[in-house]
C-alpha cells in the first residue's frame, strides 16, 4: 500500500546550510497492516509523513501510495489517503460539521452526501452531540477526534496518523486505540507515528524505526526483539513433596506446556516453559486444579514480553 524507494528530503541549502531530514528510506507497508513508525524527536518521522501526503515534495526518490506515485499522480494518491496531522488546525470560526462538509467537497460529494457523511463521521469519533458547536470551543481531545473524522471524510484506504494519541488523557488514549482497531478491521491500512511505545506495542503488527533520517529496522516487534536479543518467555515454577517422574510426565501432556527444566539446588523445583500464545492465567488455573491433590503447588509465575522501549533504545543507540 505504501512503498518508498530511496525517499530523501533535504531542507534549505539555497543560501544557508542544508539539513538532510530523510535519508534514502525504503519502506513497505502492506494492506491491512497497522504500521508503527517510531523514532526520537527530529528523526524525520513527520517529514516522511508529510511527503506521503504531498505537503512536502521529496528531494529525490519515490513513494507510491496504492501504486500511485506521489509526485506523478499526487491527486489520485491523495484520494487514497486520510491524514491526521499531529497538531490539527481548523477554521475555528466554523461549526465542526461545516468543517467536515468543506473537506467532503474536495472529493466531489453532493450536498446531501456531504451532510450525511459529516454526521456519520461525527458519530464515528463519538462527537455526534457536538456537530453544531463551533470548533473554537473544542478541547484538545475534541480537536483530535475531529481531526480523525477529517482524515476519514474520503473513506480512505490508508490512514496516516501523526502522533494520534499525543496529549490525550488515558480515557482518550483508550478510545482512540479502539477506534483505530475498528477502522483496521474495516479494511483500512494504518500508518501511525507515535511516541507512546506501549500503544504502538498494543496496536501495531509491524514497526519501522527511524533515527537521523535513516530507517534502522522494519519488522514485527517479535522478530526485532529476537534480532537484538530480547527474548519473550512465559514460565511457571512448581515445587512440592509430591513431585515425581510420573507427575512430571503428566504435566508434559497438558496442552500449552512446552518443556520442563530442573531448577538449580538453590532455587529448587522445576520450571515449566509455556508455548507462545497461551493464556498463562488459564494454564495456571488448570495446573493448580490438577496438581494440588498430588501435593504439588505453583510457586512462581513469570512472564517476560519483549519490551518495545528497550528495543527502541537498543536500536536507536546502536545507530
Amino acid at each position: 500500500m505504501i512503498v518508498t524507494n530511496k525517499l530523501t528530503k533535504v531542507y534549505g541549502g539555497f543560501f544557508g546550510s542544508s539539513v538532510l531530514a530523510v535519508d534514502n528510506i525504503d519502506l513497505e507497508v502492506d494492506r491491512k497492516d497497522i504500521f508503527g513508525f517510531l523514532g526520537p524527536n527530529g528523526a524525520g518521522k513527520t517529514t516522511t509523513i508529510h511527503m506521503f501526503t504531498t505537503v512536502l515534495e521529496p528531494t529525490s526518490g519515490t513513494a507510491e501510495i496504492c501504486g500511485y506515485d506521489i509526485t506523478k499522480s499526487p491527486l489520485i494518491a491523495k484520494r487514497k489517503i486520510g491524514f491526521m496531522p499531529e497538531m490539527p488546525g481548523f477554521y475555528d470560526w466554523l461549526k465542526a460539521e461545516d468543517q467536515l462538509k468543506f473537506y467532503c467537497d474536495f472529493y466531489g460529494y453532493s450536498r446531501q452526501e456531504s451532510k450525511t457523511r459529516a454526521k456519520e463521521l461525527m458519530e464515528l469519533v463519538g462527537m455526534g452531540e457536538f456537530r453544531n458547536r463551533k470548533i473554537k470551543t473544542f478541547s484538545h481531545g475534541m480537536r483530535k477526534r475531529l481531526a480523525l473524522a477529517s482524515a476519514m471524510v474520503n473513506d480512505p484506504e490508508i490512514l496516516i496518523l501523526d502522533e494520534p494519541m499525543g496529549g490525550l488523557d488515558p480515557m482518550g488514549v483508550h478510545s482512540f486505540r479502539e477506534m483505530i482497531k475498528e477502522l483496521n478491521r474495516n479494511d483500512i491500512t494504518i500508518f501511525l507515528s507515535s511516541h507512546l511505545l506501549p500503544e504502538v506495542q498494543q496496536l501495531c503488527n509491524k514497526v519501522g524505526i527511524i533515527n537521523r533520517g535513516k530507517i534502522l529496522a522494519v519488522d514485527t516487534i517479535d522478530n526485532l526483539s529476537r534480532k537484538v536479543g530480547l527474548e519473550s518467555f512465559t514460565r511457571l515454577t512448581i515445587d512440592g513433596k509430591g513431585l515425581s517422574e510420573k507427575v512430571l510426565d503428566f504435566i508434559k501432556t497438558i496442552p500449552g506446556v512446552a518443556e520442563i527444566r530442573v531448577n538449580s539446588q538453590r532455587e529448587r523445583g522445576y520450571t515449566i516453559i509455556v508455548n507462545e500464545g497461551i493464556d498463562i492465567q488459564d494454564l495456571a488455573g488448570v495446573l493448580n486444579e490438577k496438581l494440588v491433590k498430588r501435593d504439588v503447588y505453583l510457586s512462581r509465575l513469570e512472564q517476560a514480553k519483549p519490551n518495545l522501549e528497550e528495543l527502541f533504545m537498543k536500536i536507536t543507540r546502536g545507530s
Partner: protein
C-alpha cells in the same frame, strides 16, 4: 508488487466522482479536480470574508471616503457653468435720440464677435413684470432704436435658434439720468466666450463716436497685459483668456478719453477647471484618480494580509494540503476568494457613487466609462490583493505581512513620485520640460497606482489624450503584465514554502 495487488484486491473505495485511471492521472482530470478545489476554497473564503467584522470596518472606510468624495466633486461639477460661445453680441446705448429732454431712447446694435454688423436679429423689450413692451428687428447694418423706453424694463434678443436672454437694460430712473447727453465717445464692454473654449473669460469693447458710429483705430490700454492696442475696422477691441479679476480700460480717440471696466467671473484657473470637472464623467474620473486609488490598496491589505499566514499559523494549511488539490490551486483559490469578497462590495458601493454623481449633476456618466472603470478598478484591486498575499505567504508573522503591505502602498503612493523626480534629476532633465514628462510617464508605468490613473484618463470620454512619452496601449499592457507576473509568483511562492 503493490500495484499489481491493488487492481485485484482493492475495490474502488473512497469518494465518488473522478475515477482514477490505472495509469495515473491525466491532465484533464487533474485540471478538473484543481478547478473544483479552487472554487471550494474561494467560496469558503468569500463567505468568511463577507461575514467578518473586518470587512464591515473596511467598507465603512471605503463608503465614507469614496461616496463623500463623489458627492463633493459632483457638487463642484454641478456648480460649474459652462459658457456658450455667442453667435452674436448685442450692444445697447441709452441716449437721447428724439431730441426731447431725456436720454430715454435705446440704440441696439447687433454684431458678430469681430464687431461686424449682423442684421435680422429680433429684439424684444419687456417690462420687469414680464409683459412685452415692444419688439423690433435690427436692420441690415444691425441697428434698431426704441424711443422713450420705460426705465424698468429688460430685453432679450434672438436670431434663429440662438437666443440671448434677459439682459437688464436699466433698473431705476435715477440711473437713467446718470447718462450724459453730451457724450463724445460711447464705450461698452462685454465679457463673453469669444475664443470658443467654453469659458467666459474674454472681453470685447465696442467704441462709438458722438454720432454713434464705430471708431476704428481708437487706442485701448489697461486690461490684462496693460499694452496699448487699437480697435479694429468695426471699432471693436478684443482680449482673450483673462484671469478672474476686475479690469479697467482706458479708451482714447482724438484726445477724448473714456473709461470702462469688465469683471471676469470664471477663468481657466478655477478649481473646477483645474480638476476639469465639467460633467459626471469628469467627476467619476477624479473620484477614482484621487480617492479610489488611495483607498483600494488599504482594502486589499486589510482583507488579504492573513489569508495564508493564518492558515500557516493555525496549521489548517496542512489539512488543506493533504486534500486532492495542487498547491498552486490552493493559492489561486485563496486569491480568488479574497478578490471576489472585495470586488462585490466595491462594485456595489461604486455604483451607489455613480448614482450620487448622476443625481447631483443631473446627468449620468457614460455606461461604457462606468464599465471600464469597474474593470480597471477590479484589476487594480487584484494587483494589491496579490502583492499582499505574497507577503502573507513569505512573512513569518502576520504583523510582518501587514507592515510589508503598508510599506508597498506607501512606496507606490508617495515614494515612487519622489524616485521619479530623483531619476529625472540624475539624468539632467529640466523640471516640467518635455523630456521630464516623457521619462516620468514611462517610469510611472512601473507603478500600479500611476498606471491606474493613466488608464482612467485613457478611457474617459472627456479626457482621452495619451500621456506623452508612452503609447496608448502601454498602461493596459503594464497592468496585464503586472497582474500575470504577480499571480504566477503568488502561486509559485506558496508551492515552494515548507509547511512544518
Amino acid at each position: 508488487m503493490e500495484a499489481e495487488k491493488k487492481s485485484e484486491e482493492t475495490p474502488e473505495k473512497g469518494a465518488p466522482a473522478v475515477k482514477a485511471k490505472e495509469s495515473g492521472e491525466t491532465f484533464v482530470e487533474a485540471f478538473k479536480q484543481n478547478l473544483m478545489g479552487i472554487l471550494i476554497i474561494a467560496r469558503t473564503d468569500i463567505i468568511a470574508h463577507l461575514k467578518s467584522p473586518r470587512m464591515a470596518i473596511l467598507m465603512v472606510i471605503f463608503i465614507f471616503t469614496v461616496l463623500s468624495g463623489a458627492y463633493f466633486f459632483a457638487g463642484m461639477a454641478a456648480d460649474y457653468t459652462e459658457a456658450q460661445p455667442p453667435e452674436f453680441l448685442v450692444w445697447t446705448y441709452i441716449v437721447n435720440l428724439d431730441d426731447d429732454t431725456y436720454p430715454d431712447d435705446m440704440l441696439v446694435i447687433t454684431t458678430d464677435t469681430t464687431g461686424k454688423s449682423i442684421g435680422d436679429v429680433t429684439i424684444s423689450l419687456f417690462h420687469l413684470n414680464g409683459t412685452l413692451y415692444e419688439k423690433e428687428t435690427t436692420d441690415e447694418v444691425g441697428r434698431t432704436i426704441f424711443y422713450d423706453i420705460d426705465p424698468q424694463s429688460y430685453l432679450n434678443s434672438h436670431k434663429g435658434d440662438y437666443v440671448e436672454m434677459y439682459r437688464p437694460v436699466i433698473t431705476t430712473e435715477k440711473q437713467m439720468y446718470q447718462f450724459l447727453s453730451e457724450m463724445e465717445l460711447y464705450v461698452q464692454t462685454q465679457v463673453a466666450d469669444l475664443d470658443e473654449d467654453n469659458v467666459a473669460d474674454d472681453v470685447a469693447i465696442l467704441v462709438l463716436n458722438e454720432r454713434l458710429e464705430p471708431v476704428p483705430g481708437a487706442t485701448v490700454s489697461g486690461g490684462f497685459d496693460q499694452d496699448e492696442e487699437s480697435t479694429n475696422a468695426y471699432g471693436l477691441y478684443r482680449e482673450y483668456n483673462l484671469l478672474k479679476d476686475n479690469y479697467e480700460y482706458e479708451i482714447t480717440w482724438n484726445e477724448v478719453v473714456a473709461v470702462d471696466e469688465a469683471e471676469i467671473l470664471n477663468d481657466d484657473m478655477d478649481i473646477e477647471n483645474l480638476l476639469n470637472l465639467q460633467g459626471p464623467d469628469d467627476v467619476l474620473m477624479q473620484t477614482a484618480g484621487l480617492f479610489i486609488v488611495m483607498i483600494v490598496p488599504i482594502m486589499a491589505i486589510g482583507i488579504s494580509f492573513d489569508t495564508i499566514s493564518r492558515e500557516k499559523i493555525s496549521k489548517s494549511v496542512v489539512f488543506l494540503l493533504s486534500r486532492p488539490i495542487g498547491k498552486r490551486s490552493i493559492a489561486a483559490g485563496k486569491f480568488i476568494g479574497s478578490l471576489t469578497a472585495l470586488a462585490i462590495p466595491l462594485t456595489v458601493i461604486s455604483l451607489v457613487g455613480v448614482g450620487i454623481i448622476s443625481m447631483k449633476t443631473s446627468e449620468s456618466p457614460s455606461g461604457g466609462f462606468v464599465a471600464g472603470f469597474l474593470v480597471i478598478t477590479i484589476v487594480f484591486t487584484a494587483i494589491f490583493v496579490l502583492l499582499q498575499q505574497i507577503f502573507s505567504t513569505l512573512a513569518k508573522t502576520t504583523g510582518n505581512a501587514i507592515m510589508a503591505g503598508i510599506s508597498i502602498w506607501l512606496f507606490f503612493y508617495i515614494f515612487f513620485g519622489l524616485i521619479i523626480l530623483l531619476i529625472n534629476q540624475l539624468v539632467g532633465n529640466q523640471f516640467l520640460s518635455t523630456e521630464y514628462y516623457e521619462l516620468s510617464n514611462k517610469l510611472t508605468l512601473f507603478s500600479p497606482t500611476g498606471t491606474y490613473g493613466f488608464l482612467m484618463v485613457l478611457i474617459s470620454p472627456t479626457a482621452g489624450d495619451t500621456p506623452i512619452g508612452i503609447t496608448s496601449w502601454a498602461p493596459a499592457l503594464s497592468f496585464t503584465l503586472g497582474f500575470v507576473i504577480l499571480f504566477i509568483l503568488s502561486m509559485e511562492l506558496f508551492r515552494k514554502r515548507p509547511y512544518l
